[in-house]
Amino acid sequence: MFAYCSDPQVLDGLAWLSCYLTTGKHMAIYWAVGTVLLLLAITGPAALLFGFGGAVAARSPVAPLSWLGRGYIAIVRGVPDIAFFLFFVIALDQGLEYLRHLALCPDWDQPVRQGSDFLVCPQAKLPLSSAPQWQHEVYGFALAVLTFAIVFGAFAANVLHGAMRAVPRAQIETAEAYGMTPRQTFRRIVVPQMWIYALPGLGNLWMVLVKATPLLFLLGVEDIVYWARELGGTKTPQFTDYPHGDWRMWYFLALLVFYLGLTRVSEIGLERLMIRLSRGQATLGGAAQGGVR
């Protein structure tokens, strides 16, 4: 990075550290921070969307839709995210490629499964094997986002489903009495009022999601924890210009600070939201803001 870094053996103290912390490998961990933040920024809303869809489906009066929603919640919520990531992503990837295969190569005569191999026609590969590396990475990232969203969507659906039921019945009845259709009642009364019941649960879910980002590595995305492990592990002089002992402690400490910071920011945001939502409500939280009886 810096000009004086060409021969690290002669450096010491801060100069050494400044070179050490700016190696290409360290750049990768800084990038990974961005990856994690980007993943969270996309997955959060996406999971909420899945959750909302799941909750709406689960409470639908149409039986098959309701089964679908309940099944989604029950099954996906039942599987530990790790186990899910260990086989689901590959399955998802194969599923997508298989669909493309059916669509793009109707004349393909060889079987798709040959022994343990999974072979689709070259045009159906996702992304195409000729695609540049960044496309592979974006695709992997997109699969990760989708998987996270599906998994956490199931939990969000459960929270939202509960919150919808926590809305006092009198409030809903009144809307019905005024001729609102179920949809209007849902949109105008249930949804605005459910947030106050849902937010603590959703906030927690968000925290769990943030803390699940280390699992990204299982999905083939190199996240900060992967790099922290890699960088912190003992380095012998043979393979690096910057040999050191087991420094995982320090890297993990840095991770701890990073995650605590992220948590703090999230908490402040959630707190603001909560204050906004409980404005004027006759609850202990609403009352804490004063002026409410």
């Binding site: 009495a177 005024y178 105008r188 009022q193 004027g280 006759a282 609403g286």
Partner: protein, 264 residues
Amino acid sequence: MDTSPVIEIRDLHKSYGQLEVLKGVDIAAPRGHVVSLIGSSGSGKSTLLRCANLLEDSQQGEILFKGEPVAWRGTGAGRHPADRAQVVRIRTQLSMVFQQFNLWAHMTILQNVMEAPVTVLGRDRAEVEDRARGYLDRVGIGDKADAWPAQLSGGQQQRAAIARALCMEPAALLFDEPTSALDPELEQEVVRVIKSLADEGRTMILVTHDMKMARDCSDHVVFLHQGRIEEEGPPGALFGAPRSERLRGFLSSTLAHDPAHAAT
């Protein structure tokens, strides 16, 4: 003037589990008429109103709105309205003031009043706002338009609930003890409102514990006792010469010890 009933209830039965609350009630409210429902606490008055606008399923009997009978599906405890569109259609023409007010907690008072006309009837927002403020002024809480329900006194909440019902400008209204939290002055104002609504041709069913109000407003008074109609008739006759023992007992407590006596 058309005098066929706007709201008609025939032989209505309603139970909560084992508890039979309504045991065959018939009521007919023609256009522009006010029918008052009196009776002791727990006699089923609120339940009757809630059945009338289909918030509760009843187990037996007919409900007709403007001559159109509600279509049912199933029987007994499994009886539900068959046609959701019909239910919505009836309800948009039938506003209710709840005994516990049930203001929507997440909306300001003004939003509460504007909500149904804008969302359900699809009226123009600005026009509805004018009208809503007018009704809020009329019930004397124009200055509370931007307060939350939880910040209002009991009487103010009740008045907001009344304004909300009025703003729908429905063909018929159901009032469940609309003056329970109001002082005599405001009560008189509500009586005036009800009378002017009747003059406009709106039909009302009014549950009240206030015999004076029942007497002042209604064209017809129904005395409900333990889920049955014990006695009914025009207010003059009913209050002047109650026939049944029960009604006489019920009214006696109103007539004794009246400040009116002391004042005169």
